[in-house]
């Protein structure tokens, strides 16, 4: 990573921590309690940004996966970058999705009196999380050359669930409320709630971008080294070298 990129990452990190600190201040001290929910409304400021995070990084994972499939025959370097980006965004998306479910469950226990219910929104969300967990497990367990292709295809299939999650509160009667923003007539929140919501959303998405950049860089370095090692071994394939390669393969299999 060049010095300029490192500096940019440092500045981005500093801005992110300032945003997170200000968001936390607004969520805990800079906003009044709600008339109906009391101080429990403060759960919304840390629940909603998780879903925006998932809504940003999982579509980016789809884009990276499609890019990988398009580029894998044309440019190995670009395809590798797309694959590394797909991994970074998938991990971040799963993290946001999981946090969204956990914070939602803790909030629901107070508001609905239950930790969980098998309504359409919650069930499709759980399915989404499990699909992307399966994606990450596949990345870890499959070790041959088809891993990236397999994961890219899995990511495209997995993404189909996202529109279903989003539309579930409109298509079916659910325990989960209708969308707060853009949910038609009567939707929206008071200005005192909107401000901390937007600041915290900006802060956590900014945090996600920062960590995805770092994770992407680490994964790209790992893949490059893996490729170099494979190439070096391939170059040793001659006479005696062939035996070394064969021994190595046998040991790897064992």
């Amino acid at each position: 990573m060049s010095r300029l990129r490192k500096s940019l990452l440092g500045v981005w990190g500093l801005v992110t921590f300032c945003l997170l600190a200000y968001g936390l201040f607004l969520a805990l001290r800079g906003s009044p309690p709600d008339a109906q929910q009391g101080n429990m409304i403060r759960a919304f400021y840390y629940h909603f940004p998780n879903w925006i995070g998932a809504g940003v990084f999982l579509p980016l994972n789809l884009c990276a996966s499609i890019m990988y499939l398009l580029l894998r025959q044309k440019s190995a370097t670009q395809a590798m970058k797309a694959d590394a980006f797909a991994l970074a965004t998938a991990e971040m998306g799963v993290l946001y999705c999981t946090l969204g479910m956990v914070t939602g469950s803790l909030w629901a226990r107070e508001q609905w009196g239950i930790w969980w219910t098998w309504d359409a929104r919650l069930t499709t969300t759980l399915m989404l999380a499990l699909i992307y967990v399966a994606y990450l497990i596949t990345r870890r367990t499959v070790s041959n050359g088809s891993r990236a292709t397999l994961c890219a295809v899995l990511a495209i299939f997995g993404f189909i669930d996202i529109p279903i999650v989003y539309m579930s509160t409109r298509w079916w009667r659910t325990q989960h409320p209708a969308p707060v923003f853009g949910g038609g007539e009567g939707s929206g929140v008071a200005a005192s709630i909107l401000k901390p919501t937007l600041w915290n959303t900006a802060a956590w998405v900014s945090w996600g971008i920062l960590i995805v950049c770092i994770r992407y860089s680490a994964e790209l370095q790992r893949q490059r080294r893996e490729d170099e090692e494979a190439l070096n071994m391939f170059h040793e394939l001659d006479g005696e070298g062939h035996a070394t390669w064969l021994n190595y393969s046998i040991k790897s299999v064992k």
């Binding site: 990573m1 936390l24 969520a27 805990l28 001290r29 309690p33 009391g38 101080n39 429990m40 403060r42 759960a43 840390y46 629940h47 998780n50 991990e91 993290l95 999981t98 946090l99 956990v102 914070t103 803790l106 909030w107 226990r109 107070e110 956590w204 945090w207 920062l210 960590i211 770092i214 994770r215 860089s217 680490a218 994964e219 370095q221 790992r222 490059r224 080294r225």
Partner: protein, 57 residues
């Protein structure tokens, strides 16, 4: 750990006339879980980055 949790409990607003103690505990848990999980994942990503950078050089 319990002391730290209790200190965080004092930071998160609580009004007994409008809030329940269960709600307050869950609210504290929401903030603690989000921060801890994100920071732990951030630390993991940075650790991997440093590890691969060292191996490259």
């Amino acid at each position: 750990m319990v002391e730290l949790f209790n200190k965080i409990r004092q930071i998160v607003p609580f009004d007994p006339s409008i809030d329940t103690s269960l709600g307050h505990r869950n609210l504290v848990l929401i903030y603690v879980i989000v921060w801890l999980t994100q920071l732990m994942y951030g630390a993991y990503a940075i650790r991997l980055w440093i590890f691969h950078r060292k191996n490259d050089s």
